[in-house]
Symmetry: D3
Subunit: 324 residues, 6 copies
């Protein structure tokens, strides 16, 4: 069943944005600090047993200069410069094993898979990056409420900074065409994609797939699905801090990042997706500032969205975009 309005209404939905005055200062300061403390990314060759792909185990400087891991994959005979897809991962997972994400390199791209700090133990893909700066304040199990009572300590401040720094890190690699860096990801990875699109300059494209981390108020009002429900669980206990939680979230809302993003974009959304309800996705899409924007609608799908089909759509989109 449809979890939200019909598509026509979704396409018209342009809610007022809820944005703090110092949104841009907050992020400028955060990113500046990260860059100041950054050291060059290290790309260590890694034997993944593959014949057609060169794999590197990467460590780059993320939030506050902290080390963040990732996989860098390029077609073995690549002469470069290559366009590069920087991919962010869905909730609970990490960069996984190098041989688990072979699509973009097989399609002829450099491909960077960023670890999500602290995640990677939920039964799906593994991760190797700690989140050392956690304030340790009481939190609902999961990551949505880690440090959520203050924008300075909120978990996604660190993750989004890592995401921007990942773009900068791949640009350091000689095989990458720095003008052709694409950010991409599904679900949480889609939310991080929006943040990167709003914060990083000169991106060639942004591909948020069924993005999470958008329009938190409405999300918690219309769905009980996790992980948005972690916010509800936290506010359910810490009854007096709900306003503070939502005040923090204004700095981390995909809707606000979308309004600053200018790269060409191809979203996807699924109309039966209770995890990332369509109206929260369209709220970001309809506010997206870039002029060249499209959205693929999967009418009968849940949070899996277009899955492999969407990969095909994205590949074709990038091919036509980057060849032009």
């Amino acid at each position: 069943m449809l979890v939200d309005w019909p598509e026509e209404e979704l396409r018209r939905y342009l809610p007022e944005r809820d944005e703090p005055d110092d949104f841009d200062e907050f992020w400028t300061a955060t990113l500046d600090q990260a860059r100041e403390r950054a050291t060059p990314a290290r790309f260590v060759p890694y034997d993944a047993g593959l014949a057609t792909v060169d794999v590197h185990d990467v460590t780059f400087s993320g939030f506050d200069g902290q080390p963040v891991r990732g996989w860098f994959l390029v077609p073995r005979d690549a002469s470069g410069p290559l366009p590069c897809v920087v991919e962010y991962i869905g909730y609970g997972g990490g960069r996984g094993l190098a041989h688990e994400r072979l699509f973009w390199s097989a399609a002829g791209y450099a491909h960077f898979v960023m670890d999500t700090r602290g995640q990677g133990s939920a039964g799906s893909s593994v991760a190797d990056t700690p989140d050392p700066d956690s304030a340790g304040t009481p939190q609902t199990p999961g990551f949505m409420t880690r440090g959520v009572t203050d924008p300075q300590t909120y978990y996604y401040r660190r993750v989004f900074t890592d995401a921007v720094r990942a773009v900068e890190a791949v640009r350091e690699h000689p095989v990458v065409d720095a003008t052709k860096v694409v950010v991409a990801g599904g679900s949480q990875g889609g939310g991080i994609t929006l943040a990167a699109a709003g914060l990083a300059d000169g991106l060639a494209a942004a591909l948020p797939d069924v993005p999470f981390l958008c329009h938190y108020r409405r999300a918690t009002a219309i769905t009980d699905a996790y992980p948005y429900q972690e916010l509800v669980t936290f506010c359910r206990t810490h009854r007096s801090q709900a306003d503070r939680v939502f005040s923090t979230l204004r700095y981390f809302d995909g809707v606000n990042f979308a309004a600053r993003a200018t790269a060409p974009t191809l979203f996807s959304v699924a109309l039966m997706d209770a995890v990332c309800p369509p109206s929260t996705v369209f709220a970001a899409f309809n506010h997206y500032a870039g002029e060249r924007k499209d959205i693929t609608v999967w009418p009968f799908n849940g949070h899996e969205g277009g899955a492999g089909f969407n990969q095909g759509v994205q590949r074709a989109y990038l091919a036509s975009l980057l060849d032009a």
Copy 2:
């Protein structure tokens, strides 16, 4: 929690086999008929938008000469002859999209992904192969009981024949080293792998991963999980036909195929797997006739087993096996 006995007991479990006298005649006749009606496999180049892999859309003659589809992937610059992994798919899925299964070609192998006839509409990977020979007799939704009241009409008679024919089909292709064909697959794909290992000659290896379709009596006695439960559902309605059902299944039991298989093998099993309980897997493994046999035990996993980790284990196993 463990769904079965502790590992030590599992390793000792060697139940008496329940096998019809004409097991071999049944399969010889079935395969002979398929071969008689076979036409050469067609390998049609397919543009999957990939830069490092050549993809072919294959149609080969399966059961009774019926057309069966598959993807054939080889590294773009492969000079051959290459070892080839023939992969069978888990329950409900089909060959999917060509770009969804890039591991074996990236690892330097020719790779053939066989469609499972009639399946491919359950929400996961798609398929393009019909099952035209269905008798149409009343069946429990799913595929486990399609034609189950007679070995001649049972669904897996057609699927297992397709599987053997797939091995023969890839051997026709010039890039494949016909002495180095490996059969592999997880869950239902693992059950089909065992059937192929018991019925096809000269295989280089068999890699059944958390195999399904083994030791049906015990499976239905100890788990309520689907798809084994489809058998129970059928017998629950057709109360008088239960003996006939289990009589049919003797021709399709992985335990009986294992007892005929001689290729080197690497099984995997997960001790918290309620879908394919460990004792049903060990029943096949312990009866496996080949002298060179190993099993990877995932003690804390459910039916996902080793997932990407298991791919790594399999890759290393084949590398050492085929290089020797």
Copy 3:
């Protein structure tokens, strides 16, 4: 809770019909072909161990002349001619055992229970009729998507043809008053009843009880309940074929059959029925072309609807209708 609008709105709901131009040609051709290939129905006396009912095991020619089974029950001392209730069965079940459906014969009617081809193994009532003409194309487990990508191959083309032929078959029997044949059934049986009411001539009445197979678009938009969900599951995988699926379904929509049906009718509907939501039932009822039409509303029931109470209502309705 109510699964749809309040009753007042439901009574006013008259959605535009979505109907192909060749709807009538399609069905005329299909039925003509079935009649051409038909042989006379066989009524074989069957010993069900009953003292007050004569039971016959019937085989009649259904779709494409294929044999379809049914039970024919008449009160033992019936002198005839008797009115006859032709009953179609709910999803997953078959004609069952002869002694399981004693109501209509006890009430003094001839009663024919038609098997639903291929079904009857889902844990409820058994069946004895195969569906030999299945195209075997990939399908979601169940029957809703068997052959759904083409009206010619769709499963319900065969079932609805069987239903019309069943009416014709009972008219061949001497004890039946051919002018007093009533079609009836609940859920899927109600959907088949609507098809028969739209396709068969001269029916005395149609009694669709909480009918399924109506207004597919809205059904998939407002409920996640099975079996409508099988359509969603299929479209979820076969993303590019959704339009084709719904194009096929236009030939099989109870709303379109209702618009052609002229027999007196008594529907039933339950306002807490998520399986066959009330608006999909009222869409058919409000479009029903017959002038004499009534609907029994069960406000607190789910898909069980009126159950035995509804039987009583139907009996009284027929008594007053047929005696007049």
Copy 4:
């Protein structure tokens, strides 16, 4: 999956009985009191709209002389004397509508359906008999713990007395052959059947189908299924009264009634039945005192057991038993 031991072990299971010394005195006194306060049963003709069955709405004197309702159905042209099946109903249901239970009369028997006092509002069949003598003591929702802290006030004291009185009531009717009264029922009805078989004289047969109300200690130890779980829920709250509860239950255990029953019997049991686990049924069966005893085993069924198939088995059993 099997919910208990394999069939061979079940057939050998003969647990020690836990029985109070005054078991027989308790029941003799209870029944004597009921008989003293009894008035003759009233059989009021009832128009159920049926052509082949005569229906009577019966009121007879049950526990303490309280009025209990039932349906009495006989084939319309019955000349008598007829054997009579007295049927008790499963948990939560009542006698329902007269036209809902047509099997036994169609098979040529007189048939009496006894209401279960107080029940009949759980969404299935309705009832018309109150339970006026309820002590009103705190109870777990349901009926298992109504008055359970004392044998004198326990709900089933009243129900079992009703059951014996029902046998006596039908014997008053001229069409019934008093030497050929059979008691029957499934689940709770099977438990009541055992009680009647242990307490009533001269029964022609007892047909307990997947009987409930047997071997309470083991039942609560091995299953979480309702309604046995109501006992656990009660003891979970009333922690200090558990011993008292089980002390009461000794007077109401089907195992103890079976040990007193001498009529020929045909049990049924289902090996995948978690509601009435097979070992609790076999405990009663193996203790059953009658020499002529059989049990139908449904190996793949849950609590539905043999359903319509079991009716057929029972019909054939009675035919051969009563004709001999």
Copy 5:
């Protein structure tokens, strides 16, 4: 997610009341009868092993003079007269153990915890009060439909009378300031609080917390949660008695009691509460007749509402109210 309208709409929701003409006569007669048959409450000192609280085991005359139990707790060194909180318990529970409810006495109040007749065996708190006057008519498991077909026999007629009598009983105790009796309770206890507030004179305050037993029609239309669902279950079986059920409920609707209540009140409501949906609570609140009324809204909570936080809010409210 929100289970009902946004807060702004809830605050404006003032549905027409559905009230029988003889509502007041009904209750006057009921209460008069109870008072006529009442004997003085007995306060028996009880050793609960506590050092700072004096506990009494109370028996007072409730409905029809029947004995009802409760705990009476006062701070050990209380000189009185003290304000007294009379507390009613949530569905399924009873007065529990004396040491389980220490809040109000610790806050300096006399505190009376009334048992809910017949309840107290559902796995939570125990009870010691029977419901001897139960008519024993067929009912859905639980208490919502006990005697529901007639206002005279309905379970809550007895409970609400007990509640009013409890207020009168505590006023008999010398330590209680009879002008400062407060009624309070959560869920079912909140519904009983509303009844007491509408029926008892001279209350100092009413504190209904997420009250149940309000606006039954809408409740059954918008939620499937228990215990409101018990009403649906009953009407689902007893299809012809639904009107009678809702006719009875008009005498027991918190909305109608609220319209008669004049004591200062502090409600609470939770916007994610599916058990007692917010619109049913606001229907009572908005109709509440007392001029001094407030409501605490817990926006992210389910049926737990404010829990301990709400206790703090209530304590502060009473402190300011009763000191003024």
Copy 6:
């Protein structure tokens, strides 16, 4: 149903302990470091609006000297010295609100409720203590796997140290009789109680109620219930680290602490408790070194165990123990 062996077997169950050689050194070093960095506990009077209890908001030095919060409650007119109950909280909760835990002070004890660092946001009781020393390494949502790959970084190293320090902190308060400190808690609080009993000197008693954190290997083998399942989830992803995880857990196993504990103890255990299965509790109890030991068995309860009844049992136990 029973989740483990019958009580007789449980009482005999004495599994071999799995303990590292440096267990004692590990804990001595950890506690020494904490004590070195400790500052005196601060007891700040707190107005909880209570009339009979004095409440203090306490901050004491826990692991590594980090501040940990707690509530300290004493009867208002206490002259001291009083015995003191130090209570640890169940999984997911924190110290909550001061007025939520009034039992022990009402019973005449000083009562200290220790916050559990980092927890307190799971929908139950709140907390105010961060866990600043988290390594931030990837973890399964929850707390069971925080830092679990190394004993030095494991979460419960910090919590157990806090627990010992809490005992030392209350001994600093003048109203407390330092020779009469009792440790207590349920579930996780019971596991912490065992740790404190094994690590702190001179305790008057230990009251572990349905203790968690015992016998991890068996726990993960026999139950799927959370929170033990968090360990499985972690090992399911981090397949190669399972041995390391269980190696770490040897330092934190209640069985090993029990073997060092000498204070008189009263355990409780529930035989239907799937969260903390009885055999894991009896493993600790049977290894408990103190000579004076008892266990209360709740045969029909799940993880709620004896609840308020158990409080009564504990109160009586302490009364008799401390008065002697």
